[in-house]
């Protein structure tokens, strides 16, 4: 790095060995949270008897209790 006040040691490896997919895991959790939110909005706090996702038809089926 050259920012006038400091130059990084040329042997520095600011590794990319980082676990970035944590962000993807958060995305999965957000999807799950979205489904739960939809169930609570549609069915109320009693929730659903069953919830299923059909990826081929792109449908989310919620059967309320």
């Amino acid at each position: 790095m050259q920012a006038n006040l400091i130059t990084a040691d040329p042997h520095l490896q600011y590794g990319f060995n980082e676990f970035g997919p944590i962000i993807l895991a958060l995305a999965v959790v957000v999807i799950l949270g979205g489904i739960v939110g939809a169930v609570i909005v549609i069915c109320g706090w009693h929730g659903a008897r069953s919830t299923s996702v059909d990826f081929s038809r792109r449908t989310l089926t919620i059967v309320c209790r």
Partner: protein, 286 residues
């Protein structure tokens, strides 16, 4: 072809007390990082500012010093950003300031301006990795826990209790990330280079010296391999114990580790760089 080291100055308030992390000292015109075995060159007023941070000072006072020596704000923040990027900057602040910084960071994330988070440095040990991973995973752990509790309302899937499945998923996720990073770390240590663990938000990174391209590729591959191995063990145990949902969760987490090998992302980026760009000193300069 050059590769930039993206530096990021964290959110700072005038009353923040700044100092350097353990193992980082100023010697003459050099900022020495004994844990990683690095010597960064300080220029002009950079030495004075670094010495002031080493002695410990308030950010407001540091700004005044910079102004007295005609140092531009951008350059001061460039130096502080560099120190933060390598995990060498420590900030002591009040709880109110911590909350204020978190709110500002959330606002920046929402507005897309991407202010940097404060990076923390941990020793390259199983304890250091574990603490860094737990801190990094805390939002995920909380989110999975809340999601698992709420999903009892949605009744997603059937059979096993969502709570048990959620808890198991958290445990597999955390242990697999620790296995992932420990695998990297063991190989890096074997190559005899200095290394520390740097954690910023949900990211856990290893700061180290450069090695040869072949070694870079090996280091990049061994991490996901370690994480996947632990996930596969979890899948096996879950199948044997007839816990299909947990087996699916472990399989999903294994895929996440595999995705870290995608080009231009995480470990895959390192492989790509090692194969297609020569690892010369030029690479690190902007």
């Amino acid at each position: 072809m050059s590769r930039s080291l993206h530096t990021a100055c964290p959110i700072l308030f005038p009353n923040d007390y700044l100092h350097l992390a353990a193992g980082v000292t100023v010697h003459g015109n050099q900022l020495q990082d004994t844990l990683v075995g690095m010597q960064h060159q300080l220029h002009g007023a950079g030495k004075l500012i670094a010495e002031q941070i080493e002695a410990g000072c308030l950010f407001g006072k540091l700004e005044k010093t910079a102004k007295q020596h005609a140092v531009e704000q951008a350059h001061l923040r460039g130096l502080l950003g560099f120190l933060n990027t390598v995990g060498a900057l420590r900030i002591d602040r009040t709880r109110y300031s911590q909350l204020h910084a978190e709110i500002q960071w959330l606002q920046s994330a929402f507005l897309g301006t991407r202010l940097a988070r404060l990076r923390r440095r941990y020793p390259a040990s199983i304890r250091g990795i574990t603490v860094a991973v737990l801190r990094g995973c805390l939002p995920v752990i909380g989110a999975i826990g809340v999601g698992a509790l709420l999903s009892t309302r949605a009744n997603v899937g059937s059979g096993i209790s969502s709570l048990i499945a959620g808890t198991a998923a958290i445990a597999i996720f955390v242990f697999s990330v620790i296995a992932h990073e420990m695998s990297h770390l063991q190989l890096i240590k074997r190559y005899g280079t200095g290394v520390v663990v740097v954690q910023a938000g949900a990211h856990v990174t290893l700061l180290r010296q450069k090695v040869s391209s072949v070694q870079e590729v090996r280091i990049a591959i061994i991490g996901p391999a370690g994480g996947i191995a632990l996930c596969l063990a979890a899948v096996f145990i879950s199948v044997v114990r007839a816990r299909q949902n947990i087996a699916w969760a472990a399989g999903g987490i294994a895929v996440l580790h595999l995705l870290s090998l995608l080009p231009n992302y995480s470990d895959g980026k390192n492989i790509w760089t090692a194969i297609f760009y020569s690892t010369t000193a030029k690479e690190i300069h902007e």
